[in-house]
């Protein structure tokens, strides 16, 4: 038995999507076949509309359908911090954490010479004019070697501009047990330990109050 060509075509297109193997693609295709025409058309419409409306913000390279993205055009966001991330999805992850009220900058990748990704392939150049003297730039690239290399590269670039450059913390995930942590992470959690001092109540109570922890002066 041969599959009808349009079924084969649909399965092929679906299996190009990330995380969808040939078996899932086939299952999806059969599922779509069973759906009413309106549902297919709504999906098709959503795809075309998204492609038509969405583009990267010219300031921070986040995804938007407006001239500037929602963060860049919100004057209540802290204009003195920029958080640099790899991908648009990372912006959402950080927003969901609720711990950040500053701006973003999306690189759309990490430095990877062996994959032909040098600085010119990332949105690094437009970041430079955004950084003012005394501003904080948080390097929130991934904690892989590639993410670290990108962070180090940016640090070299940004500190001469007068930026206070910081890196997201490495350590144990919340809810973790030491026993289940890998040794690399545990080593970083030990060397990155922070002093928990009995500071007096901070002037303005903050959500993340317990994190105003001071670093340990001389880690061994």
């Amino acid at each position: 038995m041969k599959y009808p060509p349009s079924l084969v075509g649909l399965i092929r297109e679906l299996s190009r999507l990330p995380g969808i193997g040939p078996k899932s693609a086939q299952r999806l295709a059969f599922y779509l076949f069973e759906q009413p025409r309106e549902d297919i058309e709504r999906l098709v419409g959503a795809l075309l509309e998204a492609k038509r409306d969405l583009h990267t913000c010219p300031v921070c390279f986040n995804i938007t359908d407006a001239e500037r993205c929602d963060v860049c055009s919100d004057p209540t966001r802290d204009q003195d911090v920029i958080c640099v991330v790899e991908e648009p999805g990372d912006v959402i992850a950080i927003e969901r954490s609720g711990e950040y009220r500053g701006l973003y900058h999306v690189l759309h990748g990490v430095l990877s010479p062996m994959n032909g990704v040098g600085p010119e392939r990332l949105h690094i150049k437009p970041l430079l004019p955004r950084v003012q003297d005394g501003m904080e730039v948080i390097l929130a690239t991934g904690t892989t070697v590639e993410g670290d290399a990108t962070a180090l590269y940016l640090q070299r670039l940004l500190e001469p501009l007068g930026a206070v450059v910081s890196r997201i913390a490495y350590g144990l995930p919340v809810g973790g047990a030491l026993e289940y942590a890998d040794e690399v992470t545990l080593g970083r959690a030990m060397s990155g330990r922070r002093r928990v001092n009995e500071a007096p109540t901070p002037p303005r109570p903050r959500r993340d109050e317990e994190d105003g922890a001071a670093p340990v002066p001389s880690p061994r």
């Binding site: 995380g19 430095l111 990877s112 010479p113 430079l128 070697v145 890998d182």
Partner: protein, 243 residues
């Protein structure tokens, strides 16, 4: 009770995360290259260990059906965190790319592994990582059988050539060449690096101003003999700003 598991110890030379959250790694081990997948690895402890340039001991499981072995466990044996520094990072990539191109899966070579591991260590620790990368690139090429011809002109065969070969990265005689001859230190390097000990080469670095020509030669030689390698561009930020 048949065992399809094998233990291998090697260095991660490639790492890719699939959209499904699997990590696909290529390791260079003394028993040759090994490619394997850690399913769902991005969410667990394997993500920390299976990082680029990490030296890890892995247990891999090979089923007859699957073409890719599965990583079951991994233990970190060594990490070189300084390889992420801008002046070292791209050199480490170059070594990994060369190792990936030069050595094959299942091709047993303890020597290749030792040389590659030494190259990464040198790039990580030495004050002059560029020089380590130049020397070790030629040593790796030599071990794989790619030795530049230096006693005869690459075009006409005349003995004792001394001029750059802009196409093939070898040497040309004065008659065939359009560029001036290499200065003596560079010539000595090109003629002897493959058979000379690493230590001896490290002790006599070629002056920095002569190196761009050597890099051009290496790039041409690798491109012609081995194929496309991407990690030529350097990542020292000042250059990037001016670019």
């Amino acid at each position: 009770m048949r065992s399809r598991s094998a233990n291998r110890s090697g260095i991660v030379i490639r790492r890719r995360v699939t959209p499904a959250g699997d990590i696909i790694v290529t390791l260079l081990t003394p028993q040759g290259k090994v490619k394997a997948i850690a399913r769902g690895g991005v969410r667990g402890a394997l993500a920390s260990r299976l990082n680029l340039f990490h030296h890890v001991a892995v247990q891999v499981y090979q089923t007859p059906q699957a073409d890719l072995a599965t990583v079951q466990q991994a233990v970190l044996e060594g990490a070189l965190p300084r390889l992420a520094e801008p002046e070292r990072y791209a050199f480490a990539h170059l070594m990994a790319e060369l190792a990936d191109a030069l050595f094959q899966e299942g091709e047993f070579s303890g020597q290749a592994f030792d040389l590659f591991a030494g190259a990464l260590r040198g790039i990580s620790h030495q004050p002059d990582p560029e020089w380590v990368a130049l020397v070790m690139s030629y040593k790796l090429l030599g071990l794989a059988g790619f030795v530049p011809q230096t006693n005869r002109c690459a075009r006409c065969g005349t003995a004792d050539p001394a001029h750059p070969d802009p196409l093939g990265g070898q040497l040309l005689c004065a008659a065939c060449a359009s560029l001036p001859a290499y200065p003596p230190p560079s010539l000595d390097f090109l003629r002897n690096v493959v058979r000379r000990s690493v230590r001896a080469s490290m002790d006599h670095p070629v002056p920095e101003e002569q190196r761009p020509a050597l890099w051009r030669a290496l790039e041409r030689f690798v491109t012609v003999q081995v194929g496309n390698v991407q990690s030529w561009r350097q990542l020292v930020p000042t250059a990037a700003v001016s670019a």
